[in-house]
Amino acid sequence: MTGPPDLNPAPLTAAGAVPPHAGKRRGLPGRTLLRWAILLPLGAFFLLPLAAMVEFSTREENGRHDFRAWAAIGDTPELISAATTSLSLAGLTVAGMLVLLTPTLVWVRLRLPRLQRLLEFLCLLPLMIPAIVLVIGIAPIYTRVAQLLGDSPLTLAFIDIVLVLPFSYRAIDTGLAAIDLRTLTDAARSLGASGVTVLLRVVVPNIRGGLVGASFLAVALVLGEFTLASLLNFTNLQVEINMLGQTDAELSVAVSLAAILFAFTLLLAISFAGHRTKEGVSDGSP
């Protein structure tokens, strides 16, 4: 999401990568004018559909407005169960992603640095294979998964983990690159800590920001996932929204807006979490 950490060679201050010239950018009226000439129309373009969703979801046939569709969100059992599925999937995906990726990335950095390029390649591979293509190849594997684990939509977590890999990899890898992993682990080992202790009590607290960022991104991605769920015939939130669109357009638009606002809140939370850890890292203490 954010750029590579080495872009700014200036020493990290407590506020993170604040460019040193930040205070100098005033007294240029032409520039401020241009800035707003860009921000206002584009802001309008991005806010208009959101405003239209509010209007559309509260619209009634007699031309009046009320919140029937919004109230109906809570009264639609299929929607509640689909949302529960998606939230459970998000939880499973985050847990699986963290357990799979964090120890592997730490291990490769410490013991197999030569595999780092391979690992990066594998993690970024899902960007090169469109989800619509992946679903062709994964369908036969899911018939096998269904035989082993049953037909639960929660088995989608397996593929959701793959889909979030590129984003999670970047977040965690950036976190690991920002700390002196070898010194920290050597120090902990020399004090008698086991591998698991080192991972859970030394490494994880130090890359907390990266892990939190990776997790929130994964949640946002899983809540927005549609392609694989719909084509593998599982019902998640997006599939249910799409089906509702054919029977109750107002309701489906209301849920869409609610989902967007929820994801926005999540990502805004990341930006604050990331801010806090930068101060934590410059502290240097585990």
Binding site: G3, F46, A52, L100, I132, I136, G137, G224, G245, A263
Partner: protein, 306 residues
Amino acid sequence: MAASASPAGPEGAPQRPTHSLRSRLPALTAYLGVLPFLAYVGVFLIYPTLIVVVGSFEDNAGRPSLDNLRVVTQGVYREAFVRTIELSAASAVIGMVLGSLLAWAVSTARPDGVLRRGVNSACGVLAQFGGVTLAFAFIATFGITGLVTQFLRDNLNIDIYSGGVWLYDIPGLIFIYSYFQIPLMVIVFLPALDGLRPQWREAAASLGGTPWHYWRHVAGPILAPSFLGSGLLLFANAFSAYATAAALVSQGNPIVPLEIRAFLTSEVVLGQENVGKALGCTMIVVVTVVMGLYGLLLRRASRWLR
């Protein structure tokens, strides 16, 4: 290391194997550490991809064949590819131009300010969280009974659909895709803009250069690789997008992802199962080439911006 062990005399042979095995044991156990990850990625990413790639080179009896690839480069599939490329290119260019302007406007704001944080988070949501919700957002806005459509018709007597309902076709897709392409451009291009050093501008100014000179001879050339690279990323993003189009277009399959949907959801393609795989394989090739170029440009971009 292995090479230095082999030329040892024959008399050293008996104890050599145990010794080298012991010295290699830590290395082998080190590889065990990555085994769970490799196994997982192998089952849920590599194997499915191989199914698609191998399948596209086989006929239905499993014999090697190029027929599937021949089919997807002709007729309706060829047209779908052309339309998908046009859609991706158009939305990428719109995203590049408007997204870089927006990124510039944001880059001049305070780095820890509300504007920047809000725009960043909003861009993250809009770039990733597209799909079905995005299609419904545009139906609510520009659909036949949408807010803007009704407003223009009732108050200004303008019918935006006098020339046909374009929202559910390629023009509509270009329009809607720009709603996630512009934010994605902001996300990937903003770091490059932040990498511009104020000293370069000051140096240009102290040599008598105008802002135009600065942008033409300093910032422009430095940003060019990032700009073009971001454009390629946007192209790949639009090319692989599926959910928005799937929720919006229920009839006909104007773009390749929707052609693949037809293969996955209908039974009428009996005897042509592997054509769907060939479509997928071709998509992988296009995206991989584009992303490869993106990687090259990014490496070039990082030369100045570090």
